[in-house]
């Protein structure tokens, strides 16, 4: 057996937040006080990051679907899915400690470009970058990328594996002592410590080297979110942190056990950090939370949600919202989205919800959602953290920064008082926050 990792000896709670402003709720733009002009949207993004940093969060997380979503959603959404790399580079100048996690597709972006952009962000943020590696399943995303079609499920992960290897090799192009800056002799860099990737395969020919040194955290942190068998296996081998979502404690514990075991089996000494999504509505009191929940309900757009479900082979559009859930409109099986489909079926049958109620339940995907007082939310976090279900959470405030602000004011102090969460940042990089050590440079190791 391997020795206990530092994380096992002294576990720390990790909290990240979805950076999407004005919030994770699609109808957030309807909430009174949320401005729609571009300047106020930019300002909301900045404030969300700054509030997250004031609350000592590990990082802010930007998803990116690389497409505008199903046609049926267009009428109801704000076009504010900013490209994450330039957005986070901008936010890096508005924050000092907050980790910046961006989504990047292993299928649609050239590995050289991915490696270069992520390393650029890592440098400009002083070692705070993370890469949420997605394998991009949607046809709609493929349609935005010229001729490259959608790759089959298992092939996607084989490709992701190769892309990750190329990207990490490129990140190591410069050994840490390559720059000698000998002003007298005019020698800036020792060329024997700069390495070409020279990766040549059926799928990729990438020469390298990358035109920059490593960052202060060595390499960006790898996040991954796959839930399928292939996705989980990939995450267990490669992810520093895993984004997931399960409604019940038992399901969360089961996932946590499996992924941890798979990581051990793969020979990993530092196990992946598991951070499920956490949707919440909080107020300073239970009553205030319930009042806010009413606002969220009123702003919610069921037609929008129904249009999204078409993506996972569920088509309930046009059915009466106050009637029963038309279960015959759920695909019997789905090759691409089997996990999601099964989760939604459970939501649709438990407690016999109306279609509207079912659609409302789906806003947290099928992950954890808690509405209530600061104590209630802190209790749920603590319970899952202490019972082998999570190492932390990615917060999904329905309206941001408003709800995040309340979380930081009321929930964070409770978590601190209970000895679960930091009282100050102990380091400056995302790896520092997550308790990860910088990876050794592969070329230095091989010397």
């Amino acid at each position: 057996m391997t020795a206990a990792t530092p994380r096992e000896r002294e576990r720390e709670l990790h909290l990240l937040v979805f950076g999407h402003a004005p919030g994770s709720l699609a109808g957030a733009w309807r909430v009174p006080g949320v401005g729609s002009d571009v300047a106020s949207r930019r300002q909301r993004m900045v404030e969300t990051a700054q509030v997250a940093e004031a609350g000592l969060l590990d990082g802010i997380f930007f998803a990116d679907g690389l497409n505008f979503g199903p046609d049926g959603t267009w009428a109801h959404k704000v076009p504010d899915d900013f490209e994450p790399l330039t957005t986070t580079a901008f936010l890096a100048a508005a924050t000092e400690h907050l980790g910046l996690v961006v989504t990047g597709s292993s299928q649609f972006q050239a590995p050289y470009t991915l490696a270069r952009q992520l390393l650029s962000l890592d440098h400009l943020s002083g070692g705070r970058a993370g890469w949420n590696l997605v394998t991009s399943f949607s046809e709609a995303a493929a349609a935005n990328y010229g001729s490259r079609g959608v790759v089959g499920h298992d092939d996607r992960y084989r490709q992701a594996e190769e892309v990750l290897e190329i990207v990490k090799t490129l990140w190591d192009s410069f050994e840490d002592d390559a720059v000698i800056a000998d002003r007298a002799r005019g020698i800036h860099t020792d060329p024997s410590k700069v390495h070409r990737a020279d990766h040549h395969s059926e799928a990729f020919d990438v020469a390298g080297p990358l035109g920059s040194t490593r960052s202060s955290q060595g390499q960006p942190v790898i996040f991954q979110a796959g839930a399928s068998t292939a996705g989980t296996a990939f995450a267990a081998r490669h992810a520093d942190a895993i984004f997931t979502g399960h409604p019940t404690l038992a399901q969360s514990q089961d996932f946590y056990r499996r992924i941890t075991q798979q990581a051990r089996d793969a020979g990993r000494r530092t196990l992946p950090i598991v951070t499920p999504g956490l949707s919440f509505v909080v107020g300073s009191t239970e009553e205030e939370a319930q009042r806010y929940e009413k606002v969220v309900e009123e702003s919610f757009i069921p037609e929008y949600q129904a249009a999204w479900l078409q993506e996972v082979d569920i088509d309930v559009t046009g059915h009466p919202l106050d009637g029963p859930v038309p279960l015959d409109r759920f695909a019997a099986a789905s090759e691409k989205h089997h996990t999601a489909l099964a989760g939604y079926k459970t939501l649709a049958t438990e407690g016999n919800p109306s279609l509207r109620e079912f659609l409302y339940k789906t806003i947290s995907a099928f992950g954890l959602r808690v509405v209530g007082s600061p104590e209630r939310i802190a209790d749920e976090i603590q319970h899952r953290f202490e019972n082998g279900a999570a190492d932390g959470f990615i917060l999904q405030p329905p309206v941001a920064p408003d709800q995040l602000q309340l979380f930081v004011e009321h929930v964070v102090p409770l978590l601190q008082k209970r000895g679960l969460f930091r009282h100050e940042y102990s380091g400056s990089t995302l790896r520092d926050h997550l308790g990860l050590t910088p990876p050794a440079n592969r070329y230095t190791t091989n010397r």
Partner: protein, 442 residues
């Protein structure tokens, strides 16, 4: 000239990381990791705003050069650097180079528009088609395409990017099935304060100038002589008019390699000092690449052989910049230097891009002369070393230009397109009613 040209010049800075001279990194003013240090980049942005400059410009190639003597080959992604600097500045335009050969049009359109929103409408895309094999090797290609194919792809790429930016405004899908790209979709990023990013173009080939006339709003030109500049200025402006645009819709800013000193001698001494720190082979290698001929095979103390200067250019094999090559040969034909003299002279007069070594007063004279002659709308200044020369530009050159009525006293507009359009109208074309100076926005 019967009537003096109205309005003011445009001033940009071609940052080239630390400066255009490869030995810039050896200065004690810079610490070792300046090119990757966010503080360095924010400092450059702040200095540019101190001088109320119109824009700062970052060239790019997705490749590492020879890192043993050239720290400028540290190349982070310009859109990411400038998005970072956006937060530390509020008015200066931010121009990022990106290649149409090594990017995907959807991804780049989304990235540039997000960048534009982050900057509050101060972003520009400098469109390049890339010409080096080393970059190609980083993207699974053995060679870059020939010039014709590159520009054909580049042109389709530019149209598609513009259509996607428009889709962000109109909400309509782009349906495009072209020779190089198939795309059905739209962007889900809001238009910025200037609608969409400004487009710059830097190539001096006929294809490049045609593209600039059609879609360019700024041209980063390469001019060694005023006569050449005058001719190219008219040509690009005429191209714009031929495409139904106003001549004012495209602004022309040649690059100018720059060293300022309190006397001309001091400036020349500074050039020599920084040059002599760098490897001696650098200028030979640079010139060889620029003219497509191995300069080390030439007699150093003989003039350039006439057959070299007159030989027709084989555009199918030449990988260098046609604009640079033209301007270099023009200069050599004019002054007939020996190879050694030329290499020496180009330290002060530039090579490819024009050069200048002298006092701020003398530079103001040159800017004034070229501006009133109708050869430029402004200059893209390329300091030998940014960290100290940018202060001289902001604190000495700019006040002189202001005193002469050639430059504004403060920012008068908030977006980059606003800055460009507020500069002096094109002389000699008259005002053509009905022609658009800027893309229209809701």
């Amino acid at each position: 000239m019967s009537e003096r040209r109205e309005g003011h010049v445009l001033l940009g800075i071609n940052v080239l990381t630390l400066g255009y001279l490869p030995a810039a990194w050896q200065s004690n003013l810079l610490h070792t990791h300046a090119p990757t240090d966010p503080d360095y980049w924010r400092r450059i942005g702040a200095l540019a705003e101190r001088g109320t400059l119109d824009a700062i410009f970052l060239a790019d190639g997705p490749i590492l050069g020879n890192p043993s003597y050239d720290a400028n080959n540290t190349r982070l992604d310009p859109t990411i650097i400038w998005s970072h600097v956006a937060r530390a500045t509020s008015q200066v335009g931010l121009i990022a180079t990106a290649s149409t050969t090594f990017n995907d049009p959807f991804e780049l359109a989304e990235r540039l528009l997000s960048f534009d929103v982050s900057t509050g409408g101060r972003a520009a895309w400098n469109l390049v088609t890339s010409r080096d094999t080393g970059s190609a090797n980083n993207f699974g290609l053995d060679e870059v395409l020939g010039r014709g194919d590159r520009y054909e792809r580049g042109s389709e790429f530019a149209d598609l990017v513009i259509a996607l930016w428009e889709s962000a405004r109109t909400g309509d899908d782009v349906v495009h099935h072209g020779r190089h790209f198939d795309l059905e979709g739209r962007l889900h990023v809001p238009p910025s304060e200037q609608g969409r990013p400004v487009i710059f173009q830097a190539g001096g080939s006929p294809q490049g100038r045609a593209l600039a006339g059609r879609v360019g709003e700024g041209v980063f030109a390469a001019e060694l002589t005023k006569e050449g500049a005058l001719q190219h200025y008219r040509e690009v402006k005429q191209n714009a008019v031929d495409f139904g645009r106003s001549p004012d819709a495209v602004k022309i800013l040649p690059g100018l390699l720059l060293t300022l000193g309190s006397t001309e001698e001091e400036a020349r001494r500074r050039v020599d000092e920084i040059h002599d720190l760098g490897p001696s082979a650098y200028s030979v290698l640079w010139l060889s690449q620029a003219i497509g001929h191995d300069v080390s095979t030439l007699e150093l103390d003989e003039p350039f052989p006439a057959e070299l200067l007159e030989a027709p250019l084989d555009v199918s094999t030449f990988r260098g910049s046609i604009g640079f090559r033209q301007s270099i040969f023009e200069r050599i034909r004019q002054s007939k230097p020996t190879v050694r003299e030329y290499l020496r002279e180009t330290r002060y007069t530039g090579s490819g891009h024009g050069g200048f070594a002298g006092t701020p007063e003398q530079l103001a004279d040159k800017i004034e002369d070229w501006f009133y002659s109708g050869a430029i709308d402004g200059f893209n200044l390329q300091p030998d070393r940014l960290i100290d020369q940018l202060e001289v530009i902001a604190d000495e050159l700019v006040p002189i230009l202001r005193a002469r009525g050639l430059y504004r006293h403060e920012y008068e507009t908030d977006t980059l397109r606003g800055h460009l359009q507020a500069s002096s109208p094109t002389p000699g074309f008259g005002r053509t009613p009905g022609l658009a100076t800027a893309p229209e926005f809701a």
